[in-house]
């Protein structure tokens, strides 16, 4: 039977759509992108759990995936406000879970990550919650990485045994809601069904043993798709031009691995052009240890794990006009923040007593007035001082870093493409 057509508008554009279809689908058919994560075309009714598809329908905010088009409906998708709300929801997922993209099997194939690129998420506006979650190795075919689960519910609805029993189900409620696995039912899944479960999970929370790296890096969904598309980055306010003098840049590596600094040097001969334009002050690049001039830009790699990091970071804030946090560690803690789930004392005991390379039974935690003191957890730089710009990546692409720096210094307009914008 022919479906009835209804007339709607999307951002003012008239569109004829089949009655009873949802806004995500209708928009897609008409070339309008609405972000979605939990939505999976054949889960009916749609789950409406992630809320990244929020739009306005007839003046009211609503999830596009669960809103069916009706005659005369006025839909707004791309207002500044709506774009910001949707981005905020994605940022919330990053703040709520523990997404260490550099160590994730799904990186490059992950829908959350892909959406982060597409929406230009450089930092989460929300404080990272660092909730301790487990990795469950009990299932026979799978490993469940709870740190990455965004509770989209797809697995709950879609992964059933041949007898129609659920393998996954939400447990608890509120912020302790998590996906529970029925080990008995999981054992009944065929390899194909298990693979289907891994593929349906939008993030790297469901991994099938031995198969999670089946598709190599470089050949993944978001590795090349849209690689030329521009990432909508937050506006950068360029510094007022100084006459006569070279711009001055300082850099430091706090609790990082120097990988970001290596990446900065990755512009190869470009560095020579740069030296023509800017002068380096305090930086490991030239080994100047103390600020001796006011700087235009400070580039920070790494977060704060000890009192020295905090002091250096504060000195950067005091001596630089603009601070740019470069890399995951400076933006939210990154890999060093993996210790944030464990009380400091336990970490120290593990490192200085239990670890195999220590003299048995002896616990000496290094401490000396000359040694920095260790913080209770790793802090993101913007928890300690105000940071002006963020360049994500582990490490970030050299092109991305210098584009941002040059923009701040000289107001050069620039575009960063998906290929240059990376979390891993």
């Amino acid at each position: 039977m022919e479906k009835k057509l209804v007339n709607i508008t999307v951002d003012g554009r008239p569109i004829a759509a089949e009655e009873g279809r949802n806004i995500v689908e209708v928009a897609k058919d008409n070339g309008i992108f609405i972000p979605s994560l939990c939505y999976y075309p054949h889960i009916d009714p749609p789950l409406g759990s992630c809320r990244v598809c929020t739009v306005m329908a007839n003046g009211k905010s609503a999830a596009a995936c669960t809103t069916l088009v009706k005659e005369g409906m006025e839909v707004l998708v791309n207002t500044d406000e709506l774009q910001d709300w949707r981005k905020a929801v994605v940022e919330m997922m990053y703040a709520e879970g523990n997404h260490f993209c550099p160590s994730c099997e799904k990186s490059g194939d992950c829908d959350l990550q892909g959406l982060g690129y597409r929406l230009g998420v450089t930092v989460s506006r929300f404080p990272h919650l660092f909730v301790d979650r487990i990795v469950d190795y009990n299932p026979q075919r799978m490993v469940i990485e709870h740190n990455r689960c965004i509770r989209c519910r797809r697995c709950v609805e879609e992964v059933l045994t041949d007898e129609g029993q659920r393998v996954f189900s939400f447990q608890n409620r509120g912020n302790t809601t998590e996906v529970g696995v029925d080990y008995e039912q999981e054992a009944k899944l065929t390899q194909e069904q298990a693979m289907q479960a891994m593929n349906i999970c939008p993030v790297g929370a469901i991994l099938v043993r031995g198969k999670s790296m089946a598709r190599p890096r470089g050949e993944r969904k978001y590795d090349h798709a849209d690689s030329k598309a521009e990432v909508p980055l937050p506006k950068i306010i360029a510094l007022k031009p100084h006459l006569r003098r070279k711009k001055i840049v300082a850099t430091t590596s706090l609790a990082g691995c120097f990988g970001c600094h290596m990446s900065m040097l990755d512009i190869d001969l470009g560095i020579l052009d740069l030296i023509e334009l800017v002068e380096f002050n305090k930086s490991p690049i030239n080994d100047i240890k103390k600020f001796n001039k006011r700087c235009d830009v400070g580039i920070i790699e790494g977060g704060c794990c000890n009192s020295d990091n905090v002091e250096v970071l504060k000195a950067f804030r005091e001596n630089c006009d603009v601070l740019i946090a470069v890399g995951e560690c400076s933006i939210w803690g990154g890999l060093p923040a993996m210790r944030n789930f464990v009380p400091l004392k336990e970490c120290l005991v593990e490192a200085y007593s239990s670890a195999t390379n220590n003299v048995e039974g002896k616990l000496v935690i290094p401490h000396h007035p000359d040694l920095p003191e260790i913080l209770d957890r790793v802090y993101a730089c913007n928890e300690v001082v105000t940071i002006d710009h963020f360049v994500p990546g582990c490490p970030p692409d050299a092109g991305h870093i210098w584009k941002v720096v040059k923009n701040v210094l000289f107001g050069e307009t620039f575009a960063v493409t998906n290929a240059e914008f990376k979390y891993d």
């Binding site: 409620r173 009192s307 400091l344």
Partner: protein, 578 residues
Amino acid sequence: MKKHFPDEPLQSHTLDMLWEVQNEKGYIPNADITRLSARLGISEIELEGVASFYHFFHRKPAGQFCIYVNNSILAEFKGYRDIVSAFEKATGAALGGTDASGTFGLFETPCIGLCDQEPSALINFYPFTHLTPAKVAQIVDGLRSGVGVEFLSNAVEDNIRYTPEPDKTVLLRAFEPGSALEPLLRLAPDEVLSVVKESGISGRGGAFFPTGLKWELCRKNESDCRYIVCNADEGEPGTFKDRVLINRLPGLLIEGMIVAGYAAGAARGIIYLRAEYRWLLPKLHAAIEMYEHIGWLGADAPTKEPFRFDIRVQIGAGSYVCGEETALLESLEGKRGEPRTKTFFPVERGYLGRPTVVNNVETLCFAARVMELGAEFFQALGTPVTRGTKLLSVAGDCNRPGIFEIEWGMTVAELLELCEASDPYFIQVSGPSGQCISAWDSHRRFAGEDLLCGGAIMVFDHTRDILQILRNFTAFFQHESCGMCTPCRAGNFIFSRKLDKMARGLGSLQDITEMQQWAQIMKRTTRCGLGMTAPNPLLYAIDRFPEYFEKKLDSTRTGLNRSFDLESALEDYRDAVQ
């Protein structure tokens, strides 16, 4: 009286099955999960998912005597901590666990609807009010010496403090059983609908949807069966009006449901009673039996048009969000109480996919009075938008906490005087999901045209700390969020972290701006009313009490983040190297 209707699927019995085990064994052991999931034909994890959603179901032994102390803000201000300590001391159980012998389990729970007689607690779901540490010791002694909980439990007062003049009192006037049903002998269902619509009454559960229209929409949807669901989940902290209605006028409620059933073309009624009110169950059962006995329930009723109606009661299991109508329906179906998407209204697809009217207790009682008194009675009562009267539950810093039946249009000042609040400072209207007002608002009127109120009024005086109130509310929402959608699940958590930070004196002006912005995002992106209203306390408090927040904040702009406290961040290390 039925425990379930014959046409309900087995899965609708899930909550009852879990209760049976919980009541018998004090927790739900794995073996019972295995047994029951096999019986229900679902996987164990699915049943565990249901059990773990409701906080009165325990997966670990929770004591032969299970004690729940109310942790609402009203209780907090009336000595909640001391009561918990007294219980800990007397029972040997630490909060959140049991004593070594497993005799006592001690837990906290959000508002149990006894706000006018705090501090209060439930022991094996029997109420204990006006607690003092000495009383706690006595109660525990009594239990140890073998006295039944039911004998130690004290009578709950109704505390009716005010009704308008007799010819203006609606809900709390004398009740003559049958007076709401008598018109049904003469009127056809659509005539009943007209009367209810004409009276102008709207829902008392918070959304104020026109009641007659809701019933009519339900009736218009073709179906083999329609349902009337009475929402007796009364979970909004500070609200206890439904408790008093059920305790005092259970018959009025049943008559209201019969009227609704007749008008909406429903054959089945279900009362979803929160577990915190299980002590009211005998009242409801007696009332249902009485109406069965006189032939209005469970048999062809003597109505003008053929009509047969049945009512059963479903006990909840501890979850505020189950008061949200679609979550309530999920819960009735034996599932996790997760609100549905808003693709369909319950009157279109409700319980078991059938057209369903969900109405609050007070709404149904009010509808019964409309039939008894006639639509004209309400013409001149109340205000044009909100006709008639409203029950308010008032508690907190006032001398006369309790129930006030006010005519819509009463001013805040009048109410504060009636309840003898001598130093009102921060007044929370409609519970945490509502809004706060200050002394500046005392000229305002409770009415659809001005200040709507779902039923709760909490009065706080100048000695109370606003931040403590906000932290209690946010913790409540964090605990009660169903966890289904990102912005509510994570948002409430983020807010509570922020408020903790402020409480440590580390708040900045930026925190306030951020919270205001994030609150807007949450309001617009969450899936149900819980998430939409959860940021209200913060938003309204910032708006109404700016001077309070200014005092709490540091507005110097050094670029250094005041909330980062180096000394406290180093405490663990200094401790470890010691």
